[in-house]
């Protein structure tokens, strides 16, 4: 049986950055990933990465912007840690060879971003995530880290003491199901955009790590906080970067009115994402939208500026929406983009389940609270990739060999065998996924109500029952994506239930979670994290709550959020 000290699941920015800590410490570290590292969704991040590297800026200012952006439910110790570590983490990547855009004299260039009080977003054109991902992959190759490529995580295995002892994986390339022993496992599996019908996310973003951690007994936190990006393309949901507005782009309604001044009189289009998405949705609901969207208008920027500064975004708009932003406004709408919630960890990335760590979007440390600021997710991945990697190294170094529960492998084999042997009842995984995801879009959107959320919740018993009836067209061993999607669908169902239950219970409006029936933020009752746990007996998600970690800084005391 293959064994390592530390197994990292996911080869995006957080996973690869964590792996480098393992290499530096000289432990035996390996990565398991269902797609080649360069295919990871980190590559789709366009805008940039925040760091107070300008002497006129400060980490304190970055931390304050983040606390405020998070609507005062982020954990302040972790936020301060991230803001402090940001400059070193970004400059380290620069030294590794990351081609960040430059000022004339060679300093890393920075640009303004939503909700930030300083131009602190470092970038590489409009493909920051891609160059960061390629740079870390280069380091991974250099360090010769073993990667189980195109291997899909099936189970987090615990030993007789309830501590992590490794994982069971399914090799997509040949259908082998095998155990990998590990003293610690670090989940860097990203988000779950596929829970929703339309999202900016890759189709591989199915929250596998979150869902399997939940089933293994780790809590997920703040799952009701789902970020809607203000500018996803109307039809496909593909991202049009916040930079379109950073460059001076307007949001207009179907009447041609630039409406953001009504909602954010100071920052207009550059208010935080939750504020802008709510404003857009209000325009749409009040009848000033078109086909369920509004418009991102770049025309006044002129062809030259658009071609020079937003080339990728322009091409995507032409390719996917059939609209050239030079001549026409782009139809956009608030679109599911990012999960503020994730596997609950302390400020060092350790979950309450012994031996389980999490970093990046899969984790809830929590640095994003109820609403993430643009440019803070790439930062989260490299800072907490590093910090969590170190913490995991520390942990596994102090552990003896673990006893791998081989029955877990048999259970996975039986489960997959059963899935493949099912009769055809006329229900393909895709159809059930469509039913779940459209309901999530319909009932768990930008604005939420008790009635809608209850309708969403009521569907789960039926969906879980139908999940046992889906059948596969593909019964083969080799590259069975049909099987993969069926397994992923199971994860999406669990995560959707966490989102719905958390949202139904949270009777207030905070950050990305807006309840029409409870329009105010209620710090007295609700300045706390939601924890979702898997109730094995009932076969459903159960909630509990945990206090926000504060540091006693007067600046961080909740106040009304105005942009």
């Amino acid at each position: 049986m293959n064994s390592h000290d530390l197994v990292i699941v996911g080869a995006g920015l957080a996973g690869m950055r964590a792996a480098l800590e393992g290499v530096r410490a000289g432990i035996n570290v390996a990565i398991v990933t269902k797609i080649h590292p360069l295919r990871s969704h980190s590559c789709a991040a366009q805008g940039g990465v925040n760091a107070a590297i300008n002497p006129k800026d400060s980490w304190n200012s970055h931390a304050y912007d983040t606390v405020k952006g998070a609507d005062f439910i982020g954990d302040e110790d972790a936020i301060e840690l991230m803001a402090k570590e940001a400059p070193d983490s970004v400059l380290e990547l620069d030294r590794m060879g990351c081609p960040f855009s430059r000022l004339e004299q060679g300093e890393v260039a920075q640009r303004p971003f939503g909700g930030a009080s300083f131009d602190r977003t470092c970038y590489a054109a409009d493909r920051t995530g891609q160059v960061m991902l390629h740079t870390l992959w280069e380091q991974l190759v250099k360090a010769n880290v073993p990667v189980y490529e195109e291997c899909h995580l099936q189970k987090l295995a615990l030993d007789e003491n309830g501590e992590v002892a490794g994982v069971v994986v399914y090799d997509i390339k040949n259908g082998n199901i095998f155990p990998i022993g590990a003293k610690g496992v670090l989940m860097a599996t990203g988000g779950y955009g596929r829970v929703f019908q339309v999202s900016t996310n890759a189709t591989t973003n199915t929250g596998d790590g979150m869902a399997l951690a939940l089933r293994a007994g780790a809590p997920l936190a703040d799952m009701e906080f789902v970020q809607f990006h203000p500018t996803g393309l109307l039809t496909s949901g593909i991202l049009m970067t916040e930079g379109c507005r950073g460059e001076g782009g307007y949001l207009i309604n179907a009447l041609g009115e630039r409406f953001m001044g009504k909602y954010a009189p100071t920052k207009w289009e550059l208010a935080s994402r939750d504020v802008v998405s709510r404003a857009e949705q209000t325009e749409i609901i009040e009848g000033r939208g078109k086909n369920g969207g509004i418009f991102l208008d770049l025309r006044h920027l002129g062809a030259e500026k658009i071609l020079e500064r937003l080339p990728q975004v322009r091409q995507l708009s032409i390719d996917l929406e059939g609209v050239d932003p030079i001549h026409e406004p782009i139809p956009v709408r608030p679109t599911v983009h990012y999960s503020m919630g994730g596997i609950r960890t302390d400020m060092w990335g350790a979950s309450p389940l012994k031996g389980l760590f999490a970093a990046g979007e899969a984790a809830c440390v929590s640095v994003h609270g109820a609403n993430r600021l643009g440019g803070n997710s790439l930062l989260d991945t490299i800072v907490f990739g590093k910090i969590t990697g170190r913490k995991a190294v520390e942990y596994v170094t102090a552990q003896g060999a673990k006893n791998f529960p081989m029955r877990e492998v048999e259970l996975v084999k039986a489960r997959i065998g059963e899935l493949k042997s099912r009769r055809d009842f006329g229900l393909r995984p895709n159809e059930l996924h469509h039913r779940l995801s459209t309901k999530m879009n319909q009932y768990v959107g930008v604005f939420r109500t008790k009635e809608d959320l209850q309708l969403a919740l009521e569907q789960f018993p039926r969906i879980r029952k139908d999940y046992e009836l889906i059948h596969l067209d593909d019964k083969s061993e080799v590259f069975n994506i049909d099987l993969l999607r069926a397994i992923e669908l199971g994860h999406l169902i669990d995560l959707a239930e966490c989102i719905v239950r958390g949202a139904l219970a949270r009777e207030e409006s905070r950050g990305a979670h807006t309840r029409n029936d409870f329009p105010q933020r209620d710090d007295e009752a609700w300045r706390k994290h939601t924890l979702a746990n898997w109730d094995v007996e009932k076969g459903e998600v159960a909630l509990s709550y945990e206090a926000v970690r504060t540091v006693g800084n007067d600046n961080y005391v909740p106040k009304v959020r105005v942009y």
């Binding site: 789709a44 190759v141 970067t241 929406e321």
Partner: protein
């Protein structure tokens, strides 16, 4: 939006027990509008008609590089290719990438492609040639080639890779140029020396298929040409490729025309030329052996004037990407 019906003719591939690949063509009907992508159409087939159809995909926005496949004869990203634009008489033909082993249907084994990338030492190295001071303009060259997403379109359509599996391929060579042109790289000379070895920069036949196929405008062939220029500038002139290029250079400068009779000997050396004697006899029979006496082109003075002007004021032929600041 107006929907039209299209026929998708898709190559279905299975590996058999002996390790060979069994291929057949299967047809599906899909309704598509003007902006329907090939990927959406494939998802429609997989989701509603045949769950066993297998292909890779992920980001849907031309940045992860997963969904490169042969679409209507050319390798393209399925996520940014419109059905309407590539259909011929309402039919779209789809096959896996070429020049690489097939695993199943449209999914290929990406291992050999990445092995070539691993081989060029794909990471920045500190060393004696590292420059600490960099400016905005010193990144112009790096910026352009780092647009590469390693999708493999170029390798699949590469005419050299088709006949020479040893060839490093356009993507790996473009990646190597990314390091050679980075002011922070410390071993540029030894990289160039390695790239002057057989099956690397000089093996490209400059057919420009990679420039055509690249969905990210990387223009790998141009990076390869730049590598060659830098090799010659470094005095790495020993190989056949470099000698061939220098012979061209010499002839045109001297006579404005190529002396093909001596070209082979100058490229391959006496012994190399002798070993090609068989081909020469074959050519002679067909009357295709060029005259041994160099022919002077008309307007030779003009050619020489162009050379003189270029040597005095070299044109910057290097492709640059604007250091764009979108946000």
């Amino acid at each position: 939006m107006e929907m039209k019906s299209y026929t998708f003719r898709i190559q279905r591939n299975r590996r058999n027990a002996e390790g060979g690949v069994e291929s057949r063509w299967q047809e599906y009907k899909v309704e598509a509008s003007d902006t329907t992508t090939i990927l959406s159409a494939l998802e429609e087939i997989k989701g509603h008609q045949d769950g066993s159809l297998t292909f890779r995909q992920s980001c849907r926005s031309a940045i992860c590089g997963s969904c490169a496949m042969k679409i209507s004869g050319r390798t393209r990203l399925a996520c940014k290719t419109h059905v309407a634009k590539v259909a011929k008489n309402g039919v779209v033909e789809i096959a896996p990438q070429a020049n690489q082993p097939v695993i199943k249907d449209l999914a290929i084994d990406i291992g050999p492609f990445f092995k070539r990338v691993h081989k060029i030492t794909p990471y920045l190295q500190e060393g004696p040639e590292s420059t600490k001071e960099v400016t905005k303009s010193s990144f112009d060259q790096v910026n352009h080639v780092t647009q590469c997403i390693m999708c493999g379109c170029c390798y699949s359509d590469c005419t050299m890779a088709e006949v020479s599996p040893e060839f490093a391929g356009p993507a790996a060579l473009a990646k190597s140029f990314r390091f050679v042109s980075d002011p922070r790289e410390g071993h540029k000379k030894s990289r160039l020396a390695q790239l002057a070895e057989p099956h690397n920069a000089w093996s490209c036949v400059r057919c420009a298929m990679c420039v055509e196929s690249c969905p990210k405008d990387v223009a790998p062939m141009e990076a390869i040409v730049k590598l060659r220029t830098r090799m010659v500038a470094q005095g790495l002139n020993d190989g056949a490729g470099a000698r061939h290029a220098l012979a061209f250079h010499e002839d045109i400068q001297k006579s404005g025309d190529l002396n093909e009779f001596t070209l082979l000997q100058r490229t391959l050396g006496i012994f190399g030329a002798v070993s090609e004697l068989g081909s020469a006899l074959h050519l002679m029979k067909k009357g295709k052996i060029p005259s041994p006496f160099p022919h002077k082109a008309d307007g030779l003075q003009e050619v020489r004037a162009i050379y003189a002007a270029l040597e005095a004021h070299p044109v910057d032929v290097e492709t640059k990407a604007a250091d764009v600041a979108p946000e």
